[in-house]
């Protein structure tokens, strides 16, 4: 009997051994996620191009809003009943803790865009395309948006209060100037992948914008001259009810935690026609009237990244700084006239600085302008870009 029991046990064990392996593998596949390798296929490229653009729409209005908050364009006040994020107060005052989680979120999302763009470029090289146009579109997307990501890294972050720049892929610190050069190279290479006349102009304007951040006004003039022309449509980041523009959610109709500097209200009061480009609404707190932006009134409002008007102002500035032959006054007045605002009689760098303040309202350019024009509004000890977040410093062995 004992031998029978033993033999039976052996049979059962063998049955169970083979049964286990079959059993655990008989499961239904995932439906909501796909392995990376399966995206290396021509049929999946469109999906990834869209993903990169989505990454751009997530980050552009977020950086625009937060960098405007660090600049003198937007304000945060504890007296505002809508305000509840102390991390916004840190940004507004430039006294920023390294673990500020709003900045950490921006850093992460910005690198997500960079990673997706760079990954798309690599993947295109691994796919044999039957549709050459799709391949070029993918490479254009990878390089152009990869360039935008580096532009933001080079203009928005810093290692210390005096060392702007960022790290990439957990590597060593890269100074801002190098990041902007990388952005230029990528943007220029993107031009080789598109024949779309409008996008060529947009890229040229963007290259000019990078040179502007670098203070290379000769090249600002060169590229802006090939850039966006009067009445060209704005180049925007598209949003959706599901993705929601950051300005709407934190500095607008969604929630007014952040409001605009009082001078924007004054601009509109002084000249009601300014309302066409400085879209603000009044609200009251702390016993005083304040204003919040209404340029992005809805969840799905598209965020304005680049316009022919900005291109005009870049050309005008280059001219004022002795680069190129553009008529600065005419260029500025052309922008003003598009809103029906009266012409200026004269223009100089100070006037242009003010004009940029109004024209580029809530477009995330003010922080760079304040640095370029040497008009910092906070204490010398304040952060002038966002600190590279504590988590990066903790988890990147180069720090």
């Amino acid at each position: 009997m004992k031998r029978n029991i033993f033999l039976l046990s052996i049979v059962i064990m063998l049955g169970l051994f083979s049964g286990c392996d079959d059993y655990i593998n008989e499961v239904d596949p995932l439906i909501d996620q796909v392995e990376d390798a399966r995206l290396t296929a021509e049929g999946q490229v469109r999906f990834q191009i869209t993903g990169v653009k989505q990454g751009f729409s997530v980050i552009s209005s977020q950086i625009g809003c937060q960098s405007d908050l660090l600049s003198d364009a937007l304000e945060y006040s504890n007296q505002n009943p809508d305000a509840s994020f102390p991390q916004f107060e840190e940004i507004n005052t430039g006294v920023i803790a390294l673990n500020n989680n709003s900045i950490a979120g921006t850093w992460n999302s910005l690198h997500s865009l960079r990673f997706m763009a760079d990954t798309l470029a690599v993947r295109v090289g691994q796919i044999t395309f039957t549709n050459a146009a799709l391949k070029n579109e993918a490479l254009f997307t990878a390089t152009f948006y990869g360039s935008i990501a580096r532009f933001y890294l080079g203009t928005t972050f810093a290692l210390t209060k005096t060392e702007p720049g960022a790290s990439i892929n957990a590597g060593p610190f890269i100074p801002a100037a190098t990041l902007l050069d990388d952005a230029l190279n990528l943007a220029k290479s993107s031009l080789t992948y598109t024949t779309d006349a409008y996008m060529i102009k947009v890229v040229n304007s963007f290259i000019a914008k990078i040179y502007l951040a670098k203070g290379d006004y000769a090249n600002v003039n060169t590229y802006a001259a090939k850039g966006m022309q009067k009445n060209d449509a704005d180049f925007t980041a598209l949003n959706h009810d599901a993705s929601q523009t950051y300005f709407w959610g934190f500095a607008g109709n969604g929630r007014k935690q952040i409001h605009v500097a009082d001078r924007f209200g004054a601009y509109v009061k002084a000249d009601p026609k300014e309302a066409a480009r400085i879209a603000v609404k009044e609200f009251t707190f702390g016993g005083a009237t304040h204003y919040y932006q209404n340029k992005y009134p809805d969840k799905s409002s598209a965020y304005v990244f680049l316009t022919w008007k900005e291109n005009n102002l870049m050309l005008a500035e280059a001219s004022l700084r002795g680069q190129g032959s553009g008529n600065a006054l005419a260029l500025v007045n052309e922008v003003r006239a598009s809103y029906g605002i009266a012409n200026l009689a004269t223009v100089n760098l100070d006037v242009l600085y003010a004009e940029r303040d109004k024209e580029l309202f809530c477009q995330g350019t003010r922080l760079i302008d304040q640095h370029r024009f040497g008009k910092w509004h906070l204490t010398a000890e304040s952060w002038k870009q966002f600190p590279i977040p504590q988590r990066e410093r903790d988890n990147n062995s180069n720090f």
Partner: protein, 973 residues
């Protein structure tokens, strides 16, 4: 799978149920030492599965086939709960045997059969591992409990239970021996009547608290809860045993003395209320008084009916419960209706079948908290003025309603086809449908000004099949037991959620009336596990005991080869009291040692380096990173050794002590990646990647001392003391750096989840104004303590007096634990903390909120010594630095006090006992008082819920646990 089922079926059918036709009788009577019949006592003939239960006279009788009458000596055993086992040596020679038993009371349940492993049950007196059991049925006669967490808290050595909040229906967390390894949630695997149940937290995001999947369990049904605390005992559960195993058994039918035709009915009515336990201090929070006024007394009403009965062939237990409990905030409530039917059938002498079926409909309204804008506490505490973000009226109108329909059922069979061979099989299912409905009305606050509604539907099915066969045989003075077995587990999860906004009428709030859809998603998971094991035990002279075992595990791991892992175990015990050298007052002294290994599997997709999903935005649906895995990942392995002893002295003192040591290697940790890698998992915001990072060691001891100085019919006094110590240390993280989720960290050289943060060391003054503008931080993070106590325990007194009165009290303590007081940190930045407001005024800093600056405070002149002195003080409370808010949270809690009276005798005197068989009434208080340096709530809570791996001990606008009063009446018919 089908192969196995077919095999089992054939195997079962190949053996006939009935041995033979001719029989002889074994009969007798089972009594206590006073001669009182022990109704329902079980008498079993060894190795045959034959036996019977004692009837109302204490008499038993059963037939034995003549084929078993071989003239050999064998054992006849009588057992009854709370009595020591009686063993008689009898000779089976074919003629009728009369054997009576007089059983001795088992004061400390040392002889009671307890679970000691996956396929082993034995008594504590011979167990080779530390044994832990809560006799929930006994506790319920002297107190009233709303769920598992209340029953378990403080009752078991080596096991702590904490609630993540004071929400009724909220989450709870086991801390078993310091939590084994690093990975996973550190939670034990849970079984209810053989069903592997889902023990997790689910729901839509609204702050950090989610609903517990076991909050629908009716505590009144629970008979006992048994614990296998770590791999030393649970190794044969394989990858599910790393954090221990909890086995819950619900009540079964029995033959009752009070029964009419074997039927007895009990009805319990419970009325009580929850109230705020500790008031917020107005010296700390400016708005404390307002906050305190907004807590309510939340009533509790419970009706519980059960029917128990049966005969020697079928026993049944059926119950019905309706419970409504309101929390201390207006929007917190639980409504639970449940029903259970447990059947035990003995159709043949050698076959025992159990059927357990439980259904509950459980509706939990969660209060909105753990968030500054949306929730109650944020609006009541953070700012200088309350309810500025969301009004009191609106907070009342929002709701988070989660409704569960859950079925937990099992069928199990115990079959003895031939002498000495025992086959056990169980099929279990936990099927749960959950629907959550989150609603914010129009005008709720600035964030959802036009209203918002979110729906979440989730269906989860857990199915498990367990099988084992045990063969027992004797050889000379040796007894052998060999077991082979298998476990299979299948989980199928589906879910979907949708959020809409922009309602135009307050009167119509269905999903279709929202103008904008803002989120929609679907979840799906199908995973399986399988494991086979074999275990072999030898005992010699009932003095020496040795067990060896081996388990092989398999699990689904999509995209990679299925991990297949082997786990060994070995355990040993020796009964020293069986030797002659010990004095006679030592009734029991047993030394034991056990070693076992367990593991924790990687997540199902952890072996896949990169997974993408689709995210929808202005450009349509685009690819986004969903999961970052690691193709090198392996299961974590936890090795545990425990040694200890169990002793009983003078028949009234019991002592058990266990030392354990664990080593977790290849621990899987979700290491936070540098954001610059770009590997942000967009849908979750996570930046983590699993790694086998290294090694964690842990050790500790747990002890239980019980003393029963008075035992008798009129007076009875039981005292017990539990004292635990645990420590653990992260030895190695593979050189990858500390894992930080500020302010918690897994840091090399420190215990897990340590508070570890930069500390402000010197004020910084503005070069232009000379004012304080912040502080220089320490160059390194500093150790600020652990969220888990190192020493913990409880003290219990249970006193029965004048026969019918009972007083029960127990207190729980924990030492050297800290808490991160996030509420105070945020409040100090928003004008809500009086001390900070004063400092800011003195230092000439802007008021954190209009009106927050205290009147009459004159700002000091920057640069003066006085200014600098105040700045030094302010730096230590400045809300900018989380290190300032790590507070000592050692605690002593008077956890339970109850007083009850048994009216049965009185009713008997009044001759009412022909209508009512028993009447008990009692009153109890839970969380009567908490003594802790930490004043702002409950030191055990955690704002992000009860299933966190790293972020624990963080209080942020988390509802403190309430004080609860209960009055109950039990009527037996």
């Amino acid at each position: 799978m089908k192969r196995i089922l077919l095999f089992l079926l054939l195997f079962t059918l190949s053996n006939s149920f009935v041995f033979g036709q001719s029989t002889f009788k074994i009969r007798g009577k089972v009594t206590d030492q006073n001669g009182e019949p022990l109704i329902g006592a079980s008498v079993v003939l060894k190795s045959t599965g034959l036996g019977a239960a004692a009837d109302v006279e204490g008499e038993y009788s059963f037939d034995v086939p003549l084929s078993l009458a071989k003239g050999h000596e064998t054992e006849l055993t009588a057992s009854f709960i709370n009595y020591k086992k009686g063993v008689a040596r009898i000779i089976l020679n074919g003629s009728e045997i009369v054997q009576n038993f007089s059983l001795e009371e088992d004061v400390f349940q040392n002889e009671e059969i307890v679970v000691t492993g996956i396929a082993s049950k034995t008594s504590k007196s011979v167990a080779e591992v530390s044994v832990a059991r809560i006799n929930a049925a006994d506790l319920q006669t002297i107190n009233s409990y709303n769920g598992i967490s209340q029953i378990v808290a403080g009752k078991v050595s080596g096991v702590q239970m904490t609630n993540s909040s004071g929400n009724v229906g909220g989450g709870w967390r086991f801390n078993v021996r310091g939590g084994g390894g690093l990975n996973g949630t550190g939670q034990p695997t849970m079984y209810i009547d053989g069903v592997r149940v889902e023990n997790t937290e689910i729901g839509l995001a609204a702050g950090g608290q989610l609903n517990n999947t076991l909050s629908g369990l009716n505590a009144n049904d629970i008979d006992k809860i048994e614990f296998l605390k770590g791999p030393a005992a649970a190794a044969m559960y394989g990858t599910n045993g790393a954090n221990g195993v909890v086995l819950i058994t619900t009540k079964t039918g029995k033959i009752s003395a009070a029964a009419r035709k074997g039927l007895s009915v009990e009805y319990k009515f419970n009325y009580g209320y929850n109230e705020q336990q500790r008031k917020y201090d107005s010296d700390v929070y400016v708005t404390a008084d307002t906050a305190n006024k907004n807590f309510r007394k939340g009533p509790i009403r419970e009706h519980f009916l059960n029917i128990v009965g049966g005969n020697s062939e079928v026993r049944y237990y059926a119950s019905l419960e309706n419970r409504i409990e309101d929390g201390i905030l207006a929007t917190n409530r639980q409504e639970r209706t449940s029903t259970r039917i447990n059947l035990v059938a003995n159709p043949y002498n050698n076959l025992n079948i159990k059927l357990n079926a439980y259904y509950n409909n459980n509706k939990v309204f969660r209060p909105n908290n753990d968030n500054s804008i949306y929730g109650w506490l944020g609006n009541m505490l953070l700012r200088y003025k309350p309810f500025t973000w969301t009004s009191r009226v609106m907070l009342d109108q929002a709701y988070l309603e989660g409704t569960t329909n859950q079925f937990i059922g099992s069928i199990s069979a115990n079959y003895t086809p031939i002498e000495n061979l025992e086959i056990n099989a169980t099929l279990g299912v936990d099927n749960m449908n959950y629907r959550e409905n989150r609603f914010y009305p129009i005008g709720y606050n600035a964030l959802v000004a036009d209203g918002q509604k979110a729906l979440y539907d989730r269906r989860n099915t857990n199915q498990n099949m367990e099988f084992n066969a045990a063969y027992n045989y004797d050889f000379s003075d040796f007894k052998f037991r060999s077991v082979i077995g298998a476990q299979f587990f299948n989980r199928y999860l589906q879910g979907n959620n949708v959020t809409v906004e922009d309602f135009n009428s307050t009167l119509i709030t269905d999903l279709g009336s929202g103008g904008t859809v803002t989120t929609w998603a679907e979840q799906f998971l199908h995973a399986r596990e399988g494991g086979i094991f074999t275990e072999h035990s030898i005992s010699y002279l009932d003095q020496y005991f040795l067990t060896l075992g081996l388990r092989k595990d398999y699990a689904t791991s999509i995209g990679d080869n299925a991990p297949s892992i082997t786990y060994p175990k070995a355990s040993f015990a020796v009964r020293l009291d069986k030797f002659d050298f010990l004095p006679s007052f030592v009734n029991l002294l047993k030394l034991r040692a056990a070693y076992g290994e367990g593991g924790v599997l990687p997540g199902i997709t952890d072996g896949i380096p990169l997974l993408w999903d689709a995210q929808v935005g202005g450009y349509g649906a685009g690819a986004a990173i969903a999961v970052i895995g690691n193709d090198k990942i392996e299961p974590e392995r936890v090795k545990e050794i425990e040694v200890g002893f169990d002793a009983e002295l003078f028949k009234n003192v019991s002592l058990e002590l266990t030392y354990y040591n664990t080593v977790a290697e290849k621990s899987i940790v979700n290491r936070v990646l540098a954001g610059s890698t770009g590997k942000l998992q967009v849908s979750t915001g996570s930046l983590a990647q699993p790694y086998n990072l290294g090694k964690v060691t842990g050790s500790g001891f747990e002890s239980l001392l019980q003393y029963s100085p008075i035992r008798g019919n009129e007076f009875n006094l039981d005292l017990s003391l539990i004292w635990n110590y645990q420590t653990n240390k992260i030895e190695d993280l593979g050189g990858t750096g500390d894992i930080i989720n500020t302010p918690n960290a897994h840091a090399v050289g420190y215990s897990k989840s340590r508070f570890y943060a930069f500390v402000p060391v010197a004020p910084i003054y503005s070069s232009t104004t000379g004012k304080y503008i912040g502080a220089t931080l320490s160059t390194e993070r500093r150790d600020l303590g652990s969220p888990i106590p190192d020493h913990s325990g409880s003290f219990t007194v249970n006193f029965k007096f004048f026969k019918n009165f009972n007083l029960y009290a127990f207190a729980e303590w924990g030492l050297n634990n800290k808490i991160s007081n996030g509420s105070k940190q945020f409040a100090s930045r928003l004008g809500g903390v009086a001390e900070v407001n004063r400092y800011r005024a003195l230092l000439g800093l802007s008021a954190a909120y209009p009106g927050a600056a205290p009147a009459g405070v004159v700002a000091l002149t920057p640069g003066t010594d006085e200014y600098k002195r105040v700045a030094e003080e302010y730096m230590k409370v400045d809300g900018l630095y989380e290190a300032n808010f790590i507070e000592d949270a050692s605690y002593l809690i008077i956890r339970e006090v109850s007083f009850s009276y048994d009216f049965t005798e009185l009713f008997g005197d009044l001759s009412l006992n022909s209508y009512i068989k028993s009447v008990t009434a009692g009153v109890s208080v839970r969380n009567l008082a908490t003594f802790s340096e930490y004043k702002d709530g409950d030191p055990g809570v955690n704002f992000s819920g009860a299933r966190q791996n790293l972020a624990i001990g963080q209080e942020f606008l988390t509802l403190p646990t309430p004080r609860t009063f209960n009055f109950w009446l039990r009527l037996g018919f």
